[in-house]
């Protein structure tokens, strides 16, 4: 009896699961008519998996009515609880709760209070914005310094690795957002830049923008760094890096192209949700007018630091560079599921 080769076996499996294309189906049918080994294989496969049909004897096909009722009750009671009370109702409620007391000298008290309040407003009006602005500028500069040092690391890496960007094995269509996942098939786009930390091209603390978080993260030991294949979680990397789907094509760009920036604002909220990574869920995101305009929140939504391949780092509220390329989206893509890829090298997509 002729032995089947791997390709023939795969075609028969695809055909069995009704996942074969037209041409594959034709090949499968032909094999099943002419090839004894194929007939044997198909029959054994059918015999083995038809055992699964036994499950249907146990599984009650129809859902009990009480479950549907319970689900809808839960849904309606849940939405009723979360429906916002109208502003008018709130005001009326607050008004009815208010305790009214008679004050003997209203105008005197009012004048005193108003004078003090005016003084506070004037002083805070002068000092608060100034100090806030100074702090924001300091964080912006510190963030730029971080990116400049990472840029040096990337250049150093490229010089020693035949002009390639840091990249680990991955495939187009792999999720790019699962930061810290230890699954080999879940390759977050951050794994590529982790190579810089792992091989001492950049310090791990450089990957946290001081403007985005004031949280003190525990330092990573050398042993931890050696054992990890990605940043431990999203808090350890607040920058977005150029999406790499094919490592063998990840050449260091010849012209100045964006490589890294403050967090991509489109996915920021979704990925900050701790349940997102824990639950392995990426709720699909559809682009809206607002999402196409917002800036990274690391710098109060005023703009983002963008690192270019020539080592320059610029703070800008601009998202579109080169030939009309928005660095936070994939060209012509409206809905995002966390597995997108770009179709050309000129379409830069910085994630996660």
């Amino acid at each position: 009896m002729d032995k089947l080769n791997k390709e023939q076996r795969d075609i028969l499996l695809d055909y069995y699961f009704e996942c074969a294309g037209q041409q594959e189906s034709e090949t499968a049918k032909e094999l099943l008519e002419t090839h004894q080994g194929a007939i044997e294989f198909y029959n054994r496969l059918h015999h083995s998996l038809s055992a699964l049909e036994h499950l249907d004897h146990e599984v009650c096909a129809s859902c009990p009515d009480h479950l549907v009722e319970k689900t809808l009750d839960k849904l309606y009671s849940h939405t009723a609880k979360t429906e916002p009370i109208s502003q008018l109702d709130k005001l009326l409620h607050a008004e009815s709760e208010k305790v009214v007391t008679k004050r003997p000298s209203f105008w005197r008290n009012f004048a005193e209070a108003a004078a003090v309040a005016a003084g506070v407003v004037i002083l805070s009006g002068i000092f608060v914005p100034v100090t806030k602005q100074m702090r924001a500028m300091a964080w912006q500069a510190a963030c730029q310094a971080n990116l400049a040092k990472i840029a040096q690391g990337i250049t150093g890496y490229a010089n020693e690795n035949s002009n390639f960007l840091p990249a680990v094995a991955t495939k187009a269509g792999n999720p790019w957002w699962k930061v810290g996942s230890t699954q080999p098939q879940h390759q977050s786009n951050t794994r590529h830049v982790w190579v810089l930390v792992k091989n001492n091209y950049a310090e791990p603390q450089l990957f946290v923008c001081p403007g985005g978080t004031r949280e003190k993260l525990p330092a990573l030991s050398q042993t931890q760094i050696a054992n990890l294949s990605d940043f431990p979680n999203r808090r350890y990397i607040t920058y977005s890096f150029k999406l790499i789907s094919e490592p063998n094509k990840a050449k260091y760009p010849l012209s100045a192209a964006p490589l890294m920036s403050d967090t991509n604002p489109i996915f920021e909220t979704c990925l900050q949700n701790p349940g997102c990574v824990d639950k392995n869920e990426f709720d699909p995101i559809t682009l809206s007018e607002k999402l196409l305009k917002i800036n990274s929140t690391s710098h109060r939504g005023k703009g983002q630091n963008v690192m270019f391949s020539d080592g320059a780092v610029r703070f800008t509220s601009q998202r579109v560079f080169g030939s009309d390329d928005d660095i936070f989206t994939v060209k012509d893509r409206q809905v995002y599921r966390g597995t997108e890829t770009t179709s050309s090298e000129t379409d830069v997509f910085l994630v996660p």
Binding site: F17, H47, S48, S50, S62, C63, L67, N280, P284, T339
Partner: protein, 207 residues
């Protein structure tokens, strides 16, 4: 293989489109009709996956609640079924993990791809003649299959149920599980090998 894929006809699709538009707009009546439409297949899917009434009911409710909550992110022009089953599979996985944490027992870890040849495993079956079973035998076999499925690694169980019972295409499963199509195929092959080996070892005297 279960008979035939679920191909909705044109009228069904149009009806569903209209329901989906109303559901996205927050129409409860439309949502209720969607629940009625999908309650049975979803319930059967969760029964196969979780196999305990209480867990199934929890996951069932959570799935529809999530479906309602995330209606604004749903693309109206796409079919609902793969999206609904994506949510259901996630909820089922969560339920199993919660149970695992609570009971601190292993309920089936994620399996790494096995480099096993489907052909060899299938060839090791002594016979593939299908013999008629009486009712007692059927019940006994059903119990064995249920046990194998219950103890299967989570990712293999999931792919086998989605491919065999729900008959999703490779592309749909790849989207649902956020994995490349190649991984769907290799995982499904591993699941077949796993199931066949277990089935064989449980029925060594018969097959």
């Amino acid at each position: 293989m279960k008979t035939g894929k679920n191909h909705n006809n044109h009228k069904d699709r149009t009806d569903e489109q209209e329901l989906l538009h109303r559901y996205v707009a927050g129409d409860r009546d439309a949502f209720q009709q969607l629940v009625t439409r999908y309650k049975d297949p979803l319930y059967a899917f969760l029964r196969r996956f979780l196999n305990q009434t209480q867990l199934v009911e929890e996951a069932f409710q959570e799935t529809f609640l999530q479906l309602y909550r995330s209606r604004k992110t749903f693309e109206k022009d796409r079919p609902l079924r793969p999206w609904l089953f994506t949510i259901a599979a996630n909820k089922a996985r969560d339920t199993l993990r919660k149970l695992q944490r609570r009971d601190t027992i292993s309920l089936g870890a994620m399996a790494e791809p096995e480099d096993l040849n489907v052909d060899d495993v299938l060839n090791s079956l002594k016979s593939y003649e299908i013999t008629p079973y009486d009712e007692a035998e059927k019940a006994e076999r059903a119990e064995k299959v249920r046990k194998i499925i219950e103890n299967m690694p989570e990712n293999l169980k999931e792919i086998l149920i989605l491919a065999y019972f729900e008959q999703f295409s490779y592309k749909q499963m790849a989207d649902m599980l956020s994995i490349p199509i190649g991984t769907v195929k290799s995982r499904l092959h591993t699941a077949i090998v796993h199931f066949t080996k277990k089935w064989k070892s449980l029925n060594n005297e018969i097959i």
